[in-house]
């Protein structure tokens, strides 16, 4: 709920919150591009994979640019006293989400000819669940950011949801790790190590989404007292 009588003095702050929401959409678009890339690589559609890889690169680049502009505006402006640093921290952790999506995408892009074992991992049910959990963690973060307009109770109630999806992503990552290292088919060790690194970096998407929710918790504690 917004206090309408105060709206005449909070135009700048409202604009900042709107820009944070827009910034999140860019981050989310980057993560969605990454998830699409994983699915495309699983069916070995190289043309679509290249397009989606570019979507991820462009999204991350746009996120970087908006992050920089927004951070400067917040740092230079005289508003959000007491929580300004936390808002800057939030932008930083959100940027890390987009960075992780790009870094993870690079693992797949560098593997022009994924071997059969790697493809089987990408096609696996666990991988589908893993990337879906990553997407859900980021979506939960978006839902949390939207609660900036709703009040303390709603904000606090949405924080654990991000953590739940992050834990779900962790759990599906663990299953994928087992599949990697306990495969009966004797896969190429280089492929195993590369896929392991890919999983770690991809999992950072959910980890940074959770970090963002932690920053929002601090922000809520300070802002609402």
């Amino acid at each position: 709920m917004k206090l309408k009588p105060l709206s005449f003095i909070n135009r700048k702050e409202s604009k900042v919150v709107q820009e944070i929401e827009s910034y999140f959409k860019i981050v989310q678009k980057t993560v969605d591009g990454f998830v699409g890339l994983v699915k495309t690589m699983a069916v070995n559609d190289q043309t679509e994979a290249k397009r989606l890889f570019q979507v991820v690169l462009d999204g991350e680049s746009e996120a970087d640019s908006v992050h920089r502009t927004l951070s400067m505006a917040i740092a230079e402006g005289a508003f959000f006293g007491g929580i300004r640093e936390d808002i800057l921290n939030l932008l930083e952790t959100m940027d890390n989400v987009a960075d992780s999506a790009k870094d993870a995408a690079r693992f797949l892009e560098s593997e022009e000819d994924l071997d059969d074992f790697a493809i089987s991992i990408l096609r696996s049910e666990e991988m589908g669940l893993f990337v879906s959990n990553l997407q859900s963690a980021v979506a939960a973060l978006g839902n949390l950011i939207a609660a900036f307009n709703l009040g303390k109770k709603e904000l606090l109630s949405r924080i654990p949801v991000v953590e739940e999806w992050e834990e779900a992503a962790d759990s599906s990552k663990d299953k994928l790790m087992k599949r990697l290292f306990k495969s009966p088919t004797n896969p190429n060790p280089v492929t195993v190590i590369q896929m392991r690194d890919f999983l770690f970096v991809a999992d950072d998407i959910a980890d940074y989404a959770e970090d963002s929710s932690d920053v929002i918790l601090v922000l809520a504690a300070k802002g609402y007292d």
């Binding site: 709920m1 909070n10 900036f148 303390k152 904000l155 922000l219 609402y224 007292d225």
Partner: protein, 311 residues
């Protein structure tokens, strides 16, 4: 007739007073992160001036002519000199000086040494109100902090920020206003010799400007660090509650012609505000030292005033 020496001493004290209280007059509004230096200075100057003009006259006879019968000029000069010395010393030690406590303590010491007729009832009222004021501020801060937290929990973050911005300006103005009314009024009244019935409003206006200069030129917020940040951490709503509670306590004291240290009321307000929250961490050592200083300094000022006047 106004003694130029007393006005000079009062001016010097006013400048130091502004320095010692700079964190309250300017540091708070700047520290909020919501306003720049110009806005902070403007609020501070307008608050000090309006307080000195509107309510300041009530304090012109709060010491000389109220606590004791008319003091000779040497007595008032000793009072100012000691207040200057104590305030400078405590400011350098980064401790909040109970400015009014020092003034009252040294004036009483001088009055006893010079065997002036004391107004026991007023002395009792002043000393007892020094203990009551922090309680009043604490209760008001407790209630205001609770009310603000409850009111704001259901609104957007942007609206909370807007509330904080308005509250910080309003309470900073209120604090500057009561400092102008009570403390600047006290200094001006003592400078013109309250018992002699001198017109102190013009002097009060001049002193309010001098105090603002002291706050602007020398203030860096160290005293605020001591009574605030080191003791406990307060949210913007907490600061609003503390300052509002303290300002109300001081304005009540002004109506009773009681020279007040806003620091004591702020300490009470901070405790009230802190205890309105579920979890509170208070640095008890800093709180004890601060409280102890406010009790010890008037006594030391009394002894020093007595000895100097006797000599």
């Amino acid at each position: 007739m106004i003694d130029p020496l007393l006005v000079l001493l009062a001016g010097a004290l006013g400048f130091i007073f502004g320095w010692n209280n700079s964190s309250l007059l300017i540091g708070n509004i700047r520290g909020s992160g919501s306003f720049g230096a110009k806005a902070a200075v403007m609020v501070s100057v307008i608050g000090l001036l309006s307080g000195a003009v509107i309510e300041g006259p009530k304090m012109l006879k709060s010491l000389d002519g109220s606590v004791a019968s008319s003091s000779p000029e040497i007595g008032l000069a000793i009072t100012f000199s000691l207040a200057i010395a104590f305030t400078i010393g405590l400011t350098f030690l980064r401790l909040p000086a109970s400015f009014s406590g020092i003034m009252v303590g040294s004036f009483l010491g001088v009055a006893v040494a010079l065997r002036l007729a004391l107004n026991g009832g007023q002395v009792l009222l002043i000393v007892s109100f020094w203990f009551i004021a922090p309680l009043i501020a604490g209760l008001i801060a407790f209630a205001l902090h609770r009310a603000a937290s409850s009111l704001l929990s259901g609104v957007s973050l942007v609206s909370v920020d807007s509330f904080n911005r308005i509250a910080i300006v309003a309470t900073s103005f209120a604090v500057a206003f009561v400092l102008g009314a009570n403390n600047v009024g006290l200094m001006a009244g003592t400078a013109v010799g309250g018992a002699a019935g001198g017109d102190g409003v013009a002097v009060a206006v001049g002193m309010a400007l001098v105090a603002a200069m002291g706050a602007v030129t020398l203030g860096k917020g160290h005293v605020s660090d001591t009574i605030g940040d080191k003791m406990l951490s307060l949210s913007p709503q907490g600061v609003f509650a503390v300052f509002a509670g303290a300002a109300i306590a001081v304005i009540i004291g002004t109506q009773l012609q009681v020279p007040m240290s806003i620091g004591e009321s702020i300490l009470g307000g901070m405790l009230g505000s802190a205890y309105s929250q579920q979890t509170t961490v208070i640095n008890r050592r800093v709180a004890s030292v601060t409280l102890g200083m406010w009790i010890v300094t008037p006594l030391l000022a009394f002894v020093a005033g007595f000895l100097l006047a006797a000599v």
